[in-house]
Each structure stands twice: as C-alpha cells, then as structure tokens.
Symmetry: C2
Subunit: 493 residues, 2 copies
C-alpha cells in the first residue's frame, strides 16, 4: 500500500507509544470495529504462521496430535471446577439468543426474543471444561492414556484495557490438553512443555527466558502448579511468554473422568494444559525492535532477504534483474525466503526505510557500479551495518549472515537482560531498582499478604520462583521474616 | 483406544446411518455437549490438516496471503448489504452480554444484567461485512489493489438439523476475500478459484466435480454470480463442495470502499469471496468409502501405509521389527506417512479390521513365513486385494501402489458418476430417474417459479448451470416453455 512513512515515536520518549506506532506502521495489526478485537494483517499473520509451523512440528515430534473442540461452552460447565470459575467465569462473551429478525420499521435487524437459549453459552476463554467433559467418554482404561491433544483456536476474554497483540479480547493460540494415568507422568509432561516453549523462545524468537513456577496467587485458575517462561522487554518489564499447567486431578474430578488402572482400581485421570498465543508477536516486537522499526530474527521473518535494484533506466534495470535472478532462485532453493522488489513507483530510499521498518534481516542492493565491479551491497538489519562485497559466493555469505544475525539478536537480548537482573535486600533498594527497569531477585516470606502488599505498593508481581539460581535462605524484604530463597519480581505486561 | 469394533450399517440398508456409524467408529468426529457443534477428533482433524496444507500452498502460489479478522460482527453490519442480510442475519449466535456473576445461592454463575452490550454482536456466519468494513481503510488508490486475503477460521450458523461434517452449527473453513480495481479482474479471480477448488477435489480428494454457475435463487446472498463445484455422493445426491462468488460492487457500495483509478476517477472496489469447509471431510467419506469403512485417497490419508507384524513370540517379533525398520525409514524419507503397529494388546485380525475401518490405503503384513521367504503381504484398501510379494524393492512397489490407488479411487467415482448423470425430457421421467439416484440434465424455462415448484414437488434443486456440456435449446420439463439449455438437477446434502 502506497502511504507516507512516518517517524516512529522513540523508545526513550514513550516506549508504549513506540510499540503502538510500530505495530500499526509495520502493518502487523490494527484495531477493528469490535471493541478489543484486532485485525491481524497479512504481515503480522505471516509471523504467526511461522511460529505455528515450528511449534506444531515440535508438538508432533513429542507425540501430540491436533483436534478441534467447540467454540461455545455451556454456562454450567464453568462452575464445575471450584477455582476455575473464579478465574474464568467473569469477563466473557455470552451468547443468549440464536436468531435475529427484521425490526418493525424494516431499517435493520434486532434480536428475536423468541429465540432465547435455555442455557446461555460462553465463548471459550480457555477449553479445559468442554475438553474434559469430552474426555470422560474417551477414557475407560489406562490403555486409553495418555491422551495428548492440542488445538489451534481463537479464544475470548472480555478485557477492559486492550493493546494490540499483548492483551486483546479475542486472540489466537494453541492450547494443549493432556490426560495421564499417573501424577508423575502428568507433571513430567507439564515440565517438558515448559522446556519446549523455552527452546522455542530462545532458539527461534531469539528471546532469552527465565523458567520457573508461579506462586499460588499467580497460578492458572484450577492448576496445582503453573510452569512459566518469563521474558524481559526493553523497558525492563516482564512478559509471560508461555505457561504450562499441572492440573492434578482437579478436572478429572470436576468432570468425573475416571479409568481402570493396571491394578484394576478406578482412578481419576491426571491433567495438564498449556498454551502460547499471538501475544508472542508482541513479545517479539518488544524484545528486539528499535527506533527504526522491527528487528526480526531470521527464523521468524516472513521475508528474510530483500533485494533492491538501483537503476537509472530500464536497460540498467534489465541488466540488474538478469544478474539477480539466479541469486533469487538459489536462495529459494536453500529455503531462504527472498523478495526482489523492482516495483517502479517507489524510490530506493523509500524501499530501504520500508524494509527497515518491517525488520527484514538482510537487505541487498545492486546499482550500476555494482554491475561494473561484480559487487553487491549488503545491509544487516540488527546492526544497520553496510558493506559492499563480491557477488561471487553471495549465497553462502547471506546464509551465514542470517545465522549470525539470529545469534546476535539473541545475544543482545541476553546481554541486556544480564545487566537488568539484580538483587535487592531492602525494600527501598527494591523500589529504586524496580523504577530503573530491572527484574529483581529478592527474598519473600512466602505469604499471600506480603505478595499483595508489594504488588499494591510497587506494581511488581512475583513472576516466578526460578527453576535455576541461588536457593540460599534469607529474610523477606518487606517483613524481615524468614525466606526460603530469592524469587523473581518485576512489573509486567 | 481399546474398544469393540462393531459392524457398520450397510450402505444398501441405510445410507444415512452408514455415514453416521462410519464417522463415529472411524474416530473422525462426534457430537458435543453444545447442540449442533462437533468435536473433530484427532484422526478427522489430521485429514483436515492435510487438506489445509495443500489448499494453503495453492492459495499462496496464486498470490494470496493469510490474515485474521474478528470472530464477532456488530449487528448493524449485517444489514448494510440488502441481500446479504436476508441470507445471513437470521439463524446466528448472538452475544448480548460480556460478564457472568455468581448467583444468589452461590451454586453457579448467571448472566450479569448490568453487563449488557450497547449493540449486540454476532458470531460470524461469514466475514464479508467485517472484512469490507476493514478494507475501506486499506484502499485509496488502484495501487493498493488487488488485495488477496484468505483466512482460516471457525464460523457459526445456527442450523436446526445438523449432521457431522455435512451441516454443523460451528464449522471450520477458509474464506478468501479479494478486492480488485476492475470487474474483469474480479470475475477472473472468482473463476480461477473455482478451477483451483476443482483441481483440489479431483486430484487430491479423487472426487470428480461438475463446474458451473448457480441460479439466482441458489446464489450466495449478496453475490452477482456464484461459481460452484458439485460432487456426486454414492447415493446419487449432490454435495456442493466449494463456491466462489463474484460480488460485483455490492460490498464496495455497502461499506463505501472506493479508490482512485488510473484515470483519477473515484470508483467502488470489486469483490470476490470463496470458501471450502470441513464439509469436504463429509464429501470425502461419502464419495469413496464402503461397507468395511473409510476409503481414503493416499494424498489425504493421515496414515498412508501401516505395517503389522504377525508373530508367535518375542524373538520372532524382534526379527520382524529389525527387518521392517529400514523399510519404515526409507518410506518416511520419500515422504510416505507410515505406521509400524507392534502394539501387543491387539491381535493382527483386530488391527486389520481397524485399519480397514480407518481407510489406510496400503497395509503390509509380515509373519514367520515371510521372514523365511523374504516376502511381505501387501493389501490395498480400495479393492481389498492381497498379494504376497518379494521384500526386495518393496519401497518402490508401495509408492507405485499409492499412486495407483489414488488414480483408481478417482476412476471408480468417475465411472459411478458417468452412469448416474442422465437426461430427462418429461417431468415423469425426471421424477423416476431422480428416485433412482441420478443427477439429471433437463430443460428449464429459467423462471424462479418453475425452479421452486420442482423443488417443492421433488426435493431436487438446480445444482448449477454447467460450464461445459450440451447447450442446445429445448422445452422446459415442467412448463413446456422455451429453455436456453439443459441445467443440472439433483437432490442434495
């Protein structure tokens, strides 16, 4: 679309506005006519498709299969699991009628009062209830277990304050729901998925994450344990990038899902559930991008390489196109997604800015002098460095550069985080360091009261009890009471 | 899941019951707790994933991109296009509230009357309205065109009588929505997609289709022309397998989507929309399957080859497994989806019946004698023919057999259809041939009244005005009035 390229707000001026500008200007998503629901535009959706393909392959490699369960959930299902109802049966979209009719003055349609549902239906905020109601009929014996299902779906939570990708009323996600014969197996599944998510975040999104377990108050409603991966954004805030829940027998009991075990005894099935969502696109943007626009890791970039010809006339363009066509074919052959942009209604400078904004990892440019010298200009998006190199062997150079960029983006995020995870041993120090945009490892007395007071006073929450790191006991920063170990605090999205 | 294999109802006894039995017993789908909404089970969903992958590749090859638009549509949008409202603003799920609360006696949740939406929202029955409302902001100049978006999504139509896959309240589909600068380009797009769908149906689903255009009364609500592909099921009924609509400027006008054309004039944008759904799984089942179960064309079979060992003891199983492991690896290497079923809790006979029921195209079995003779038993699902062949070169033989099965399934369906498309020149003959389970090419006077009377009296509809075939004029079978050409009548799903 031909439109003016406008400057982004700088991160240092207003991080939140920078994010908003970037999502819109890079054509990733926009708000829709329906409050809180976004339109994911083709460029944003292409990133989601890349994420989906990689994750889906990983789920299948680890024995999972996809299925599809209904969008709508009977209202009564939500109240079957005592904690689940507290967490999810609140802000949600309720279907009460199933028909419209022409209004009296024929100017439009209205709800037909005669078409009221006997029981209201809820648009799924998450699918544990409808799925466990289904599993009841799938499970009789331990031989029917494990069940390892995933679904790619839309879900809806009626959020009051929404932000594109990060918090929207409707979002896209995958939700895994597994059933097991033993506690150990279910716990192992939940932890395995946490590792899978961490691997995806670090090796594909180039985003280092901290693995840990949630406190009781931050747990998924209905879970025994919630395993999380937490990432640091460039403003020092945390973003929960994926969660995997060990649900114990809570849903087995709520939906009466029992099986005969190896010893002939009747047992309730053990459950896990886990999900990542289009929120990850928000995380990807905030973890790496800069004041010029998106910085996308090559593994997730819809376009990995763009080639821009710089020409004075049609004859020169023809020569450049001829020279470049083999390169395009060769890159495609080795699986590199490449675009040759010879559109004639935009100047090279406009194109350069556009592809920088869109975070294309490698930009190649070829002009008249390059034709003469058998060279090509290479620009890498992560560092904005340019160099003119020989056209010979350019395919290998581009591939190596993509790998190097992937690594560098991760390292940059890792280094940033390394200096922004700090310890605090007093509450004043805690508050000061928090305001400087840090994750804070601090002692906590383990009580809900302390956790809530800190949250109320500082907006920081316990992101997780980290799986790795210092486990030395100490004293709570707020109450001075004994603390088993340091936990991770941060403000979060 | 360990469960009893039960006989299917025979097609000749009760075709409809046979279909229902098969969907359930082959673990494709089941009804859910929500009226009219199905659970698509892993085996059924795996077929859908294969369909999606193939179609998605074809859409991308032809220049389309994926995007995602909101699930919910403001009620008022549905009334903006005069004909669209008639077709879609009737039986649909209406969201009226956005919150639940605990009820007075704390036994469950109820709708919070204070959380009533100002304007009701409709779960999309199709997305033309919300998408064209979005396109208004995407389109200013002819340079912004064409827009070639597709989305993979769930939609909902509150059907009164539902059947798994064929007609469900919620279903999964893809919906393409394109915007163009000229009438010609939009029409060409709609026809190109019809061809793409026909290619998919014939070369992947192995299901011959008749291409044609719908009559006014059978058109999509809001379309200028609806292009369809119609398939014949084994009971002689028609199934509309995919439609592609040329929408003219109807949605451009309804949502005020204009652009400046090459001559500087303001014009309304031209539109198409097109979709296929999980209904295709129903078509696939009904087109090919038999009294033993599913018959799946290899291109869409989740498991293309199953290998069953027949052994007397662990030692023998070990030798079979060792011998077969290379075959499994080699088949996977060439992209064949293969399963080696050495589960020890089911007898070979049970497995044979199970994989027949599930329509696995090729079954290989190896027993003690095969070990001695260096042979393997090959069974093809389409004809149920078995032969024992040399183990040498089995990979090539299996690949050739898969290609042969794909071709044979298509040919069988084609031959069946060839003898069941007949002409009728009197109304009595028409009715008799219809009752025998035929598609009928007959003359029609072109009026809505005649079309409706025939429908009322015989339940046959005009499936399409075929794109190919006899165009000789004649006399209407009902009224005797002049007819421009024969059209295709059938009873349909």
């Amino acid at each position: 679309m031909a439109k003016e390229l406008k400057e982004l707000t700088k991160r240092s001026d207003n991080y939140s506005q920078w994010y908003q500008d970037l999502v819109i200007k890079a054509d990733l998503a926009e708000n829709s006519a329906v409050r809180g629901c976004m339109v994911i535009k083709p460029y944003g959706y292409a990133i989601w498709e890349k994420m989906q393909r990689i994750l889906d392959d990983k789920f299948k490699e680890t024995g999972h299969v996809n299925a599809y369960f209904p969008l709508l959930i009977p209202k009564s299902f939500l109240s079957k699991e005592a904690e689940h109802v507290e967490g999810f049966a609140k802000e949600c979209a309720v279907v009460t009628h199933y028909r419209l009719r022409m209004n009296a003055d024929k100017t439009g349609v209205e709800v037909d009062p005669n078409a009221k549902l006997e029981e209201e239906l809820i648009i799924r905020p998450t699918s544990e209830t409808i799925i466990w109601n289904t599993y009841r009929n799938w499970i009789q014996s331990y031989r029917d277990l494990p069940i390892l299902c995933n679904q790619w779906a839309n879900v809806m939570r009626w959020e009051m304050r929404t932000r594109l990708f990060l918090r929207t009323a409707e979002f896209l996600w995958q939700e895994g729901h597994t059933a097991h014969a033993t506690k150990e197996e279910a716990e192992q599944e939940a932890r395995m998925i946490q590792d899978l998510y961490a691997d995806f975040a670090e090796n594909y999104m180039a985003m280092p994450v901290i693995k840990g377990v949630k406190t009781v108050s931050e747990r998924f409603a209905g879970a025994v344990d919630t395993f999380t991966i937490e990432a640091m954004m460039q403003d020092g805030k945390a973003l929960q990038a994926g969660t995997s829940h060990f649900l114990g027998q809570n849903f087995g009991k709520a939906f009466d899902v029992t099986f005969i075990d190896k010893n002939g005894k009747t047992e309730y099935a053990w459950a896990t559930s886990w999900g990542v969502s289009t929120r990850l696109i928000g995380a990807l943007i905030m973890a790496h991008s800069d004041d010029n626009g998106l910085v996308l890791p090559p593994h997730l970039a819809p376009i990995q390489v763009v080639i821009v010809p710089i020409y004075r006339n049609e004859e020169q363009l023809g020569r450049i196109s001829a020279k470049v066509s083999g390169l395009v074919a060769n890159l495609k052959k080795v699986g590199v997604s490449v675009k040759y942009d010879d559109s004639d209604n935009k100047k090279p400078g406009w194109k350069f800015a556009e592809y920088e904004l869109k975070g294309v990892p490698v930009r190649l440019a070829m002009g008249g002098r390059d034709l003469e010298n058998n060279t090509i200009e290479v620009m890498r998006r992560d560092t904005l460095e340019k160099e003119t190199v020989s056209f010979e062997g350019i395919e290998e150079r581009v591939q190596a550069l993509l790998a190097e960029i992937q690594k560098n983006i991760y390292q940059k995020a890792y280094d940033y985080r390394a200096v922004h995870i700090v310890e605090a041993d007093t509450y004043d120090d805690f508050k000061a360091k928090l305001d400087e945009g840090n994750f804070i490892l601090a002692h906590w007395d383990g009580t809900l009261e302390t956790e809530e007071q800190i949250k109320d006073e500082t907006k920081a929450t316990i992101r997780c009890i980290p799986a790795e790191g210092d486990t030395t006991p100490g004293k709570c920063i707020l109450t001075g009471k004994p603390s088993a170990r340091r936990v991770l605090f941060a403000r979060s999205y």
